[in-house]
């Protein structure tokens, strides 16, 4: 399973915000996509869900899922891909959940939408997915506000798992979480990767990339300026921008006030 971008261009009016020559995420790997605000990293992910045009963007080029072109899909065909084969999790997951709907109902509705007709089977599948993200089945009877930020993010991941997604786009998915909770989510993402899911991890945090990404692509003003194995890009950056990003990160053990 591969999600492959080629010659992707995204523009708003005259302004081009993304100009990607090539970017690939393979099954069983985490690709870290890093860059500062406005570098185009979120828009790159949004385009893989077919949602960029809804924001008023003009998209051209190619985004292919296992060789199948996505940019030419009809709305009906997109519905079969979005959420089902490619899913996205966000920085603030609680805004993606209906506050008056129990978690179990969210699962039931989503699974039904994607063809699961038996209620019992849906519940079983939901519980199994929750188990994979270390949450008890009791979560199904809770409302979103009864869960912590980290728990809701795990529910969002479980929802993607219940649908057996092939590609997970994680857009700053751990940025709003406390570090100890973030560490837990990162461990979970690594496990999903081991199950063969392709993960595009969008983050501004190079430390997060270093922890879990196999490869990294560095974006600046819509372009990928450097890409490669995480350890080599962070260890021996070849692009000046990558180097400046690395140098800017405050690091533990660097010493205190003089």
């Amino acid at each position: 399973m591969t999600l492959a971008y080629r010659d992707l261009s995204i523009s708003f009016g005259e302004r081009q915000v993304v100009a990607l020559d090539e970017l690939r995420v393979e099954s069983g790997e985490i690709l870290g996509l890093v860059g500062e605000s406005g570098s185009g990293k979120s828009m790159t992910a949004t385009a893989a869900l077919g949602l960029a045009p809804r924001l008023g963007a003009r998209v051209s080029g190619s985004i292919a899922l296992d060789g199948e072109e996505l940019l030419t899909l009809s709305p009906a065909q997109w519905a079969q891909v979005r959420g089902r084969r490619i899913a996205m999790i966000f920085q603030n997951p609680s805004s993606a959940f209906n506050p008056v709907m129990k978690v179990g109902d969210v699962f039931a509705r989503t699974l039904k939408l994607h063809g699961e007709t038996s209620k019992d089977a849906a519940r079983e599948r939901s519980a199994a997915s929750l188990h994979e993200v270390l949450l008890p089945a009791g979560v199904l009877d809770r409302y979103p506000h009864q869960l912590s930020g980290g728990q809701i993010q795990r529910v969002a991941i479980a929802l993607a798992l219940a649908l057996d997604v092939q590609v997970l786009l994680a857009d700053e998915a751990t940025s709003a979480l406390d570090v100890t909770v973030q560490a837990e989510i990162l461990t979970l993402l690594s496990r999903l990767k081991d199950r063969g899911i392709a993960i595009l991890l969008i983050t501004h945090d190079l430390g997060v990339v270093a922890e879990v990404a196999d490869r990294v692509a560095v974006m600046q003003r819509g372009c990928v300026v450097e890409t490669g194995e995480t350890a080599s890009v962070l260890g021996q950056p070849s692009h000046a921008y990558t180097r400046s990003l690395i140098d800017a990160v405050p690091r533990l053990g660097a010493g205190g006030p003089r």
Binding site: T180, H204, L206, G207, V208, A210, P257
Partner: protein
């Protein structure tokens, strides 16, 4: 010197800050306040600024009792105690030009006369690395980093003795963050600033603060010189927090102390040590009895039943992820 003693703050019967004491000595000196969401960091800052009433305890700026100050004393105190927040947009009037905002602070507190006002505004902007021309701009015409510099200039305008920096760089891109950190570092020396820095980023606290206070659910779990606390944490929570910070050079496999479960809330405070449900070293005693904050080594204050074992190095912390338990609701 800012001195906080036995500060407690409660909202509707829920104690969110419980018996916190700390000192910010004369500058240049930084004290870091770290902890995760719900740990009470910002509530402590708000209590010091008298934006939230303290339930009990003492807050003093030198000889002045902050908690008991009347309106006039409070107005004078505001001059000596300033704050910089994470999001400068919340404190900058979108329709007020930067120069006018800075001038307003100076005239309200009558620190300069009209003749030298413009000059002083230019000086302040220069001090935070901004062009004097910025005075004519509106906030939305500036970048996030520039707006944060303006917020810092405004806090410094009155030459305060203590500044509270509440996550001053958390909303900024990393390259801009680096510039603002360098600015704080240089001001610290030039202005002999003393500050209370609230941050969830341990690396920033290490860089800017001599002392650190680690909070968990409103209580101090560890307190001491930053360098020592981070090099050799004596509380399992500090150790876990430190090990959870993602670094560009990843730590060797298996050296992270995984914390399971979800931080409880002050409204449903666990029995005994509030950290025990997530603690990899918890014993039966920890579930029963609240550990008191005590000086385990010179200058090292820790609230943990097993702090002595941590200090001797006889306690090894690991931790496996396990399933969450749900809070009763």
């Amino acid at each position: 010197m800012l001195r906080v003693e036995h500060l407690s703050v409660a909202f509707g019967g829920v104690t969110v800050v419980d018996d916190v004491s700390l000192e910010v000595p004369a500058g240049p000196h930084g004290v870091g306040l770290v902890g995760e969401s719900g740990s009470g960091k910002t509530t402590i800052a708000r209590a010091i600024l008298r934006l939230t009433p303290a339930s009990s305890g003492d807050i003093r700026l030198d000889d002045v009792d902050v908690a008991a100050a009347d309106r006039r004393t409070l107005a004078r105190l505001r001059r000596r105690l300033q704050v910089v927040l994470q999001d400068p947009d919340g404190t900058l009037d979108p329709r007020q030009r930067v120069g006018s905002a800075l001038a307003e602070v100076l005239t309200t507190h009558r620190v300069v006369d009209a003749a030298t006002l413009d000059e002083r505004v230019s000086e302040l902007l220069g001090e935070v690395g901004l062009d004097p021309e910025v005075a004519r701009r509106l906030p939305h015409q500036l970048s996030g980093g520039q707006r944060q510099r303006v917020a810092i200039a405004r806090a410094l305008a009155l030459e305060p003795e203590v500044v509270i920096l509440d996550e001053p760089t958390s909303a900024l891109d990393v390259s801009v963050q680096a510039q603002v950190l360098a600015l704080i570092e240089s001001l610290r020396e030039r202005r002999r600033l003393s500050y209370l820095l609230i941050s969830h980023n341990l690396a920033i606290v290490e860089r800017l603060c001599e002392d650190v206070v680690v909070l968990y659910l409103g209580r101090v779990v560890e307190q001491g010189p930053t360098r020592e606390v981070l090099a050799r944490p004596l509380h399992p929570y500090t150790a876990a927090l430190r090990s959870a910070v993602p670094d560009i050079v990843p730590r060797p496999e298996g050296t992270r102390i995984a914390l399971s479960g979800t931080p409880a809330s002050s409204a449903h405070l666990p029995s005994g040590c509030a950290f025990h449900p997530r603690c990899p070293a918890a014993t039966d005693l920890c579930a029963r009895e609240r550990p008191m904050l005590r000086e385990v080594e010179a200058g090292r204050w820790v609230a943990c039943h097993r702090a002595e074992e941590m200090a001797r190095g006889t306690l090894t912390l690991t931790g496996q992820l396990r399933d969450d338990e749900l809070e009763e609701s």
